[in-house]
């Protein structure tokens, strides 16, 4: 209520627009803070890229010259603002790898060039998994609430709990075993090439997408079920019952519209996981996504790439949560239609 009243005093802008703009601003601030933490924490990691590339035996002068070439000798804040300015203009700097050992000539690639195709792959896989898992989770959640405590409800609960309880790689290997090794329906490797056609990509990413679906569907399905059941004790649900509404009408028309906020929050959380947390699945299926890129960059101390990947991950989280907030706001009639 406080929020509504505050907004009412705000003037002519619709309170929902105002709130969304507020959230957007807050998201940008969060992203800025993340960039700060990210940059400084990478800086405080032990070890040195110069030494790592040139080897322990390298002369101090060589290391110093190399550091100078990369700009690592500049003060921290200067480098930070240069880096941040670059990101804002779409330039994430150049990868460290490909430098140094070759001597003078610079064969290093821009981070963005490395990242872009990987990100496209990751988003493709995430979208595949989302397109399967979100409708499936909603359907299972709603039907489980509808037939609460029935055998159906219990079976769905038990099955989804089982899939979420196994480690991802185990689920992945089970699927490979079942759908690839024995039946040869899908390929076990998803090492798609950049010029693969759309349906080939779908075919190749089927197993990793299925693995991810099995991993995230339980969480979303259980929240959908719980959010609906939580509302079933409300007086307006009893009223709907006393107005002669059928069970499915009660759930779809009277409970679900009031249950979106918690459901969408969990969906956003899981979608973010699809982008950010899939490195294990990528490794199992040899899928060229951002996760693998980041792991490789960490092992070679390729700081600009690590920072680029991390910023992408942070932005994904913030964006999806913002999206969830917006849905929560516009499904709340108190905010959408102020008094």
């Amino acid at each position: 209520m406080g929020l509504i009243r505050d907004n009412r005093r705000g003037g002519t802008v619709h309170p929902v627009i105002r709130t969304i703009l507020q959230r957007l601003g807050l998201g940008l601030v969060t992203l800025f803070v993340v960039s700060l933490i990210l940059f400084s924490s990478v800086e405080f990691l032990p070890g040195d890229f110069g030494e790592a590339v040139l080897g322990q035996a390298a002369l101090p002068e060589t290391v110093a010259a190399f550091r100078k070439e990369l700009g690592l000798d500049l003060p921290l804040h200067e480098r930070y603002f240069e880096w941040l300015g670059g990101i804002l203009t779409g330039d994430m700097g150049n990868s460290f790898s490909g430098r140094g050992s070759s001597g003078g000539s610079d064969r290093s690639r821009p981070v963005i060039e490395l990242l872009a195709p990987r990100l496209a792959n990751t988003l493709f896989l995430a979208s595949m998994a989302a397109i399967i898992s979100v409708p499936l989770a909603l359907f299972l959640g709603i039907t489980a609430a509808l037939y609460r405590n029935s055998i159906y409800d219990r079976t769905v609960n038990a099955l989804t709990l089982t899939t979420i309880s196994f480690p991802e790689f185990f689920v992945a290997y089970l699927l490979i075993l079942g759908l690839s090794s024995f039946t040869k329906i899908f390929p076990s490797l998803a090492n798609i090439s950049p010029d693969a056609l759309f349906w080939d990509r779908v075919y190749l990413t089927a197993l990793p997408a299925l693995t991810l679906t099995l991993v995230i569907v339980a969480h979303m399905m259980r929240m959908t079920r719980a959010a609906i059941i939580n509302l079933m004790a409300s007086p307006y649900i009893e009223m709907a019952d006393l107005k002669g509404a059928s069970k499915s009408e009660i759930i779809l028309r009277h409970a679900l519209p009031n249950a979106w906020a918690p459901i969408v929050t969990v969906i956003a959380f899981n979608l973010a996981y699809l982008v950010v947390g899939v490195v294990v699945v990528e490794v199992v299926f040899v899928y060229p996504g951002v996760g693998q890129l980041m792991v490789d960059a960490v092992t070679t101390r390729d700081v600009p790439v690590v920072q680029g990947c991390a910023m992408i991950f942070a932005a994904t989280y913030i964006l999806l949560n913002l999206f969830a907030d917006i849905i929560s706001i516009i499904t709340n009639p108190r905010l959408l239609h102020p008094r």
């Binding site: 006393l242 002669g244 009277h254 009639p333 239609h337």
Partner: protein, 548 residues
């Protein structure tokens, strides 16, 4: 406008025989309705009256062939228009609900779905039944809104529940019940949550529309005066059994059972008012607001004489509870000051000394939420004894016993938890907790509103006795005029954050009245079946005198 379903007036519509309903609690089934009969004819309105736990809502729902989760109808028969509801399948009963039998719930704010527009909810069951197209049903709904005297009847249906006031929502819900032109409507305490001034209007709309469509109704309430306006006959229930039933006038003129008479017992207390000596508390031109915007208190001045009771009356939102918060320092005034025994109190609670805190105590409406459920009565009353008086060990226990006896309970209550006490007992413990601090002034905020009539009477008598014995001063916040009559010496009438009238009880409660006081007083239902009709007639004629 007649209903094709309606047969002749006078035919028996609902015949419930020997209804037994079980409720599940404490791990077992208890009988909560024990063999009650109801016979209702077409066009007849029956009042079901009783205190909480009497089983009246359960019985009302049973008339729809419906039992809440945790309840079951174990025996009896329910014949609705010649058909046995209990012999039908759940689907068949569902087809009757919201079409031939409709329900109006107590809290309209909670019973409307927050996600849908009012008109969508109004026509929902009519459209599902298919007797009217959606457009026809909506046109009819707007007409019903107009009949029920809702403001902007053509557009109010496009609003969402939170955009409409409680009294209006209750009328929209009546329209929703009426939309399918049911044969029977169950009104389940539909005006209990409303202010008296709003209640009158809602009652009038309901009465008019039920008469207009010749709809039979069961009207459930705990307020005999309200049911007297609505019902042709009244059935009194207690602990799931019929105590008495009779035609309304007969019941009011000559109740047979002692219990029935006790239902209006609070109205029988009438405190002799006393003029008084020195002023213990003075609220001096106080303004207060919650978020720095609209004033909730606007230039409020109140004087409270020592050893007497000042009642603050007004409807919800009038600022009466906020006045209490300003006095106790929970909400520091933005202007003006509060003087106690002639000395200004620091505005904020935190700045007050323990001694100042001790002298002013508070008792709340919901005794349930005002006590820590994990503390025993000993902890609850013992805490202020330690905090204010530094009593420990034996001295503390002795004082504890004295207090418990003072509130007419005994030693056996001392180690109980709040959950093991009844509503009245809980409020008594809250009184003892306030007394433990040896206060001079006690602020009672709607302390009897949540209680049944008989229990209310007990609490009020206790407070009166304590006042005499301990020379206590009370500020008594209430919206109930019967309570005011029972306990006050002086009255302060509040409206929209201002004091509109204050003075001795005899002056305030006798004419001539200022406009608002008259509205407030005339809106309190009286034990006279003609009261509402008379009042509305008087008001529509613009006459200044009411039927009294």
């Amino acid at each position: 406008m007649s209903n094709e379903n309606n047969g002749k007036k006078g035919d028996i519509l609902l015949d419930m025989r020997d209804i037994v309903i079980d409720g599940y609690s404490d791990d077992r089934w208890h009988e909560i309705v024990k063999g009650v009969d109801i016979t209702l004819r077409r066009g007849e309105v029956m009042g079901l009256i009783g205190e909480s736990g009497a089983g009246k809502s359960t019985l009302g729902l049973a008339a729809m062939g419906y039992a809440r989760a945790g309840c079951r109808i174990t025996s009896g028969s329910i014949m609705f228009d010649g058909e046995d509801l209990l012999a039908k399948t759940e689907e068949e009963r569902r087809a009757l609900r919201g079409t031939r039998i409709a329900y109006v719930a107590q809290s309209a704010a909670a019973s409307f779905n927050p996600a849908h527009q009012l008109i969508e909810q109004t026509v929902e069951s009519t459209v599902r039944r298919g007797t009217k197209s959606e457009a026809e049903a909506k046109a009819d709904a707007r007409k019903l809104y107009r009949d029920l005297q809702l403001p902007n009847p053509d557009t109010i249906g496009d609003r969402y529940p939170h955009q409409v006031s409680g009294g209006q929502l209750q009328r929209v819900m009546t329209a929703m019940a009426m939309s399918p032109r049911p044969d029977l409507i169950i009104f389940d305490e539909p005006t209990t949550a409303l202010d008296v001034t709003t209640q009158v209007e809602v009652l009038a709309s309901m009465k008019r529309i039920v008469e207009h469509f010749n709809t039979a109704a069961i009207y459930i309430t705990h307020d005999l005066a309200v049911v007297a306006q609505m019902a042709d006959s009244i059935k009194v229930l207690r602990y799931g059994e019929t105590i008495e039933d009779a035609e309304t006038r007969k019941m009011l003129d000559n109740p047979e059972k002692e219990y029935t008479r006790s239902l209006w017992s609070v109205r029988s207390i009438d405190k002799e008012e006393e003029r008084s000596g020195d002023i213990i508390l003075k609220v001096d031109h106080v303004d207060a607001s919650y978020t720095g915007s609209a004033k909730v208190l606007d230039n409020v001045s109140i004087e409270v004489p020592r050893g007497h009771t000042v009642a603050i009356v007004g409807e919800s939102g009038s600022g009466k509870s906020t006045a209490a918060r300003a006095i106790t320092g929970l909400l520091p005034p933005s202007k003006g000051q509060v003087l106690f025994n002639g000395k200004a109190l620091p505005p904020a609670l935190k700045e007050r000394s323990v001694d100042q805190l001790q002298k002013i105590q508070m008792i709340y409406q919901m005794a349930d939420t005002a006590m820590n459920p994990r503390h025993t009565v000993r902890d609850i009353i013992g805490r202020p004894l330690e905090f204010y008086l530094g009593l420990k060990g034996r001295a503390r226990d002795d004082r504890l016993m004295e207090l418990v006896e003072m509130i007419e309970l005994n030693e056996s209550f001392i180690d109980r938890y709040p959950a093991e006490l009844s509503g009245g007992q809980k409020q008594r413990i809250c009184i003892a907790r306030a007394l433990a601090a040896n206060p001079e002034l006690i602020i009672c905020d709607e302390v009897t509103s949540a209680l049944d009539q008989i229990v209310q009477k007990g609490i009020l008598e206790l407070l009166l006795r304590l006042q005499r014995e301990l020379n206590l001063t009370y500020i008594f916040i209430t919206h109930d005029i019967a309570t005011v009559k029972a306990i006050s010496d002086q009255i302060v009438v509040m409206l929209q954050g201002r004091v509109v009238e204050q003075g001795m009880k005899s002056e305030i409660l006798s004419p001539p009245y200022p406009e608002y006081t008259e509205l407030l007083l005339s809106s309190v239902p009286e034990m006279d079946p003609d009261w509402l009709t008379g009042l509305l007639k008087a008001r529509s004629e613009g006459a200044s005198a009411t039927n009294r």
